[in-house]
């Protein structure tokens, strides 16, 4: 059975590294893996998404509406933007983190209130303060890897040798903190 993981966020949040490690791990574990990203203009700050599908044999690299097993949102409002890609019984992992978009920054619209409540009323929702935990670990940039840890737990992928994958794909000086982040993401809920 093919599983679908949809990672969404804002450009610069590290969704690409998180999904890269995830796909390498899935491949090492013997799954067929496909991943799709849309990237165009190189500006900072737009909506970004990575779609990962794995299983015995994967057909489409694209997750369809109502097709994701989990939706992992690196930013709260992005979870709402993509929720119609989630299966009715899918799970949401949401980073309790806000990044204002241009209409909000310019004072035209307020950042929507009650997103976590709305998400929780629609789907099983796991809320993580990844930014806070990343700062506690000593590097706010590992927020993405804490979320990767949460994905590993939610999808039952603990049997994969993530330490080996981290060592082979992350700069040596940053491996330890990233390993801590992967572990942290698995014990938060």
């Amino acid at each position: 059975m093919t599983k679908s993981i949809l990672l969404v966020g804002v450009g610069g949040q590290g969704t690409i590294l998180a999904s890269k490690l995830l796909t390498i791990g899935l491949m090492a574990a013997g799954y067929d893996v496909k991943m799709s990203e849309i990237h165009g203009m190189s500006q900072r700050g737009g909506s970004v998404s990575s779609q990962i599908r794995y299983g015995e044999k994967v057909e489409s690299p694209v997750i369809e509406a109502g097709g994701a097993d989990i939706l992992v949102a690196f930013e709260k409002m992005e979870a709402m933007r993509w929720i119609d890609y989630l299966k009715l019984d899918g799970k949401v992992i949401v980073n309790d983190y806000e990044i204002n978009s241009m209409p909000i920054l310019s004072g035209k619209i307020d950042y929507p209130k009650g997103i976590i409540d709305e998400l929780s009323s629609k789907a099983q929702t796991i809320v993580i303060n990844a930014a806070g935990h990343a700062e506690q670990l000593g590097n706010s940039k590992v927020m993405n890897i804490i979320l990767l840890g949460a994905i590993i737990k939610t999808m039952g992928l603990e049997h994969i040798d993530w330490e080996k994958i981290a060592r082979e794909n992350i700069k040596a000086s940053l491996v330890d903190i990233n390993l801590e982040a992967i572990k942290k993401g698995q014990v938060l809920f």
Partner: protein, 593 residues
Amino acid sequence: MKKLLTGNEAIARGAYEAGVVFASAYPGTPSTEILQNLADYKGDILAEWAPNEKVALEAVIGASIAGARSLAAMKHVGVNVAADPLFTFAYTGVNGGMVLISADEPGQHSSQNEQDNRNYAKFAKIPMLEPADSQEAKSMVKTALEISEAYNTPALIRMTTRVCHSKSIVECNDREEIVIKAYVKNIEKYMAVPDFSRKMRVKIEERTKALMEFSNRTELNYIQWNNRKIGVISSGACYYFAREVFGDTASYLKLGFTNPLPLNKIKEFCEGVEKVYVLEENDPYIEDQVRILGFDCDGNNFFPPYGEKTPDVIRKALYGKTNATIEYDKNKVVPRPPTLCAGCPHRGFFYELGKRKNIMISGDIGCYSLAFAEPYNAMDLNMCMGASISIGHGVQQVFNMKDDPMRVVSVLGDSTFFHTGINSLLEVAYNKSNTVNVILDNRITGMTGHQENPGTGYTLQGSKTVEIDIAGLVKACGIKHIVTINPNDLKAVKKALDWALALEEASVIITRWPCLLKKFSEQDNEEFSHAFQSKCVVDKEKCIGCSACIRTGCPALFLDKNEKKVSIREEQCVGCGVCLQVCPVKAIGKVEA
């Protein structure tokens, strides 16, 4: 060895393994990463950025004539630029194998149109392959080069965004060393003068016939018989989209070699199933042929004729709805449109330009296309690479005929100017219009993710090279009035615009300041040593909450509506100082970063 590769990485890998020694391209989404990955095979492959796609293809044609296996890559609209040499190279044929990669954009994720470049293969009468995933992308490069050499023709590989930018598992092999063939002068082959080309034209018919036989026998086109009630004919990413929806409940004719189409196989397949669906992006390229063969089918009459044919799109056409989705409160989502980055050198220029009255702004392709939007509203049109200056010229000539006082300001980036803007500027000077032409020189090819260009002083593979002097080039084009300014200095921008609009002849304003995301070269470090070294901060005591700074459109600024004060996000601000200059109460200052 198995690797997880994007389609673009797989194309590069395929070229490496197949013994390609020369490659050229102009960057363009979704094709850019092909050459970037080829550049990593330095020593084995000479990979170059050309000023535009026509030049890239011509350089690659030269490499082929000289006997080397070679590759050109471009986005779909780039092939329009390169079409001229393509159509005649299709006549002369190759020496070393040559493949052109066309990266099409169904759904227009980052493009101005969604033309289907499969039509080019038919139009130019050259063989075409359509990979559906990364493994096929890799192996089809080798196949395309072999076909190119065996049938004496350039070959086209048609990719689409989903194939270019999706990852799947690829079996990687070693490089095959291909000896560069000898070059032998042969005017009857390479001189496309009428006497010789008429003979070449006849040979093309023989070649097409032979390729048709190949198309019918090659395993690139294959049938999977399952349930025969439904038969799906598809190519490219659509094959996997169709499999996602139909699984093994349908039979498939999967087409990997699509010019010329395998008419016998199509006939055999259509005769063997009850109902035929044709799934392809975008034009009814295969569908038309199925109908010509006399078979009824559902294709673009039934599925949307535009955009991607992803599984949900197919499902909606078939069953009237997608999979069940969660209904949600749409008020909880605010748009997140792309914006010019904090510190973008285009901001200061467009902030000032947007204030002008009685001007028409002719735009071009680049990050600065975003100037059309709020808060700048500073662009009337864009069309294609390099067109701003020439379209602006035509507009101005007609305004002038009518004694309309409207003035045209044409704007384009440094890389876009090198691409095809130079010819347009010659047009302006030669035919004497009085447009204001602005070259937004941010010292790099920005929007596609920072590629070197003739103005940056470096090549794709990192060697130092001549840096084209834009002002000198502009002067050589016949423009007499030229000024270079720092676009972050709003007074300088205003002064330059006043000066240019007062002239009765054409002028060029060059704005010179680096993209904040650019990795600085040694020379950048010298020239822009003070760039990005400070941050702007708001003195909350002085801020009156007037939003003047917010109207510069900088995403580092945030207006707190309750407090009626603006704050600047430190992690975003690079100290360009545009906000500081527009504050009426001088509430914004600079601190060292």
